[in-house]
Symmetry: C2
């Protein structure tokens, strides 16, 4: 990484960790500069101001998140909808695990009612929903998935995928689970996969036969 990139990264990491403790408004540019060990003028140079830094952080995270959904959706001609959805689930969890401090911050920030949030929603969250929904619809069309209300399935999936990373402290203190550990991610993927297979997947494609294989799975 070149020096400028390194400094930017240090500032962004420091900002996220302070925002997670004191909130965005409760954190000054000076505090960020101190924590990052850089001169405050560099923050203005790279990000303009605190708002610019906030935008950069949110765009970075949402860009990466959305592109996982989009790039996998583009593979849908080559793979089954089930396997495509499985990859999306796995990659989104690992992406959030890898960027867990940032994920926590962005997931909280999008609950605010600001102009920036409305813009990001129109750009990234609409796009993300569009591709997840298109993936679910493709699965229904291929008879891999059941006929369900797509919106609610997408909402439920998003709630599940973001919960451990928007509320890591809750997961840690109340359940003694560690969302940023591999062990957690493995178990959580299994849980989501089980939910999807019971709830969304058609066991016997296009058939109305009794779901005998499901019974074996459950007992």
């Amino acid at each position: 990484m070149e020096k400028g990139e390194k400094t930017k990264r240090k500032v962004m990491d420091a900002a996220v960790s302070l925002f997670n403790v004191k909130g965005y408004s409760g954190t000054s540019v000076r505090a960020i500069a101190n924590k990052a060990g850089v001169n405050g003028a560099l923050i203005s140079y790279y990000f303009g101001n605190k708002q610019g830094l906030l935008e950069q952080l949110m765009i970075d995270f949402l860009e990466g998140y959305t592109s996982i959904v989009e790039s996998n959706y583009r593979q849908l001609e080559l793979v089954s909808a089930k396997s495509c959805l499985y990859t999306v689930v796995t990659e989104l969890l690992k992406y959030q695990q890898k960027n867990h401090h940032l994920a926590r911050f962005v997931h909280r920030e999008v609950t605010l009612d600001s102009t920036l949030v409305r813009e990001l929603m129109m750009t990234y969250l609409m796009k993300e929903k569009h591709f997840v929904k298109a993936l679910v619809e493709a699965g229904i069309k291929k008879k891999e998935f059941r006929q369900l209300s797509c919106d609610f399935v997408v909402i439920q999936l998003r709630a599940l995928l973001t919960m451990p990373y928007s509320q890591p402290q809750y997961i840690r203190e109340v359940y003694h689970l560690q969302p940023n550990e591999d062990y957690f991610v493995q178990k959580y993927i299994k849980h989501i996969e089980r939910w999807l297979s019971e709830f969304l997947y058609n066991d016997v494609e296009g058939s109305h036969a009794p779901k005998l294989n499901k019974v074996v799975l459950n007992n």
Copy 2:
């Protein structure tokens, strides 16, 4: 409502609506007093300071939320685990619908890493989890529910129940659904109930028979 209570309520409503737009740190006591149309000194009189007001708001909401879970759990000797869980789901959604501004604020605030949040977690969120988990375990023991990892079921249920009220703007702008309307709540309850019946409930109690009734439901 007596006059003091009315003033307190006005201040709390004004605070929540400002916090949801500008965040806690971004909102001054003066702005709250202005919006509520009361003298700033009354805020000190009733709540001490802004932190006291924050605590009161969070305790109020979490107290009501947790007591729904606890009081229903106490009925478990009289009703089935399924019907108990159904009542909990319905009441928690209606409670959040009724207090949707406050719900949004509290759900965001508990994602911060502060001393207050840690204390509230130990008091309310631990208790809430305790009773929901005990309810799920009771259902498993009675063979009404399947043997699943209780923690993940409780986490998934919480994610589902809180999602529309922690992120109402996302639900509104991306899906064009209105979480504070009765219509939404009715449909959402049906979705959750369907998820529970596919994923958690044992269709044929204590039997390994094929789930024929499930097939009828899906087709």
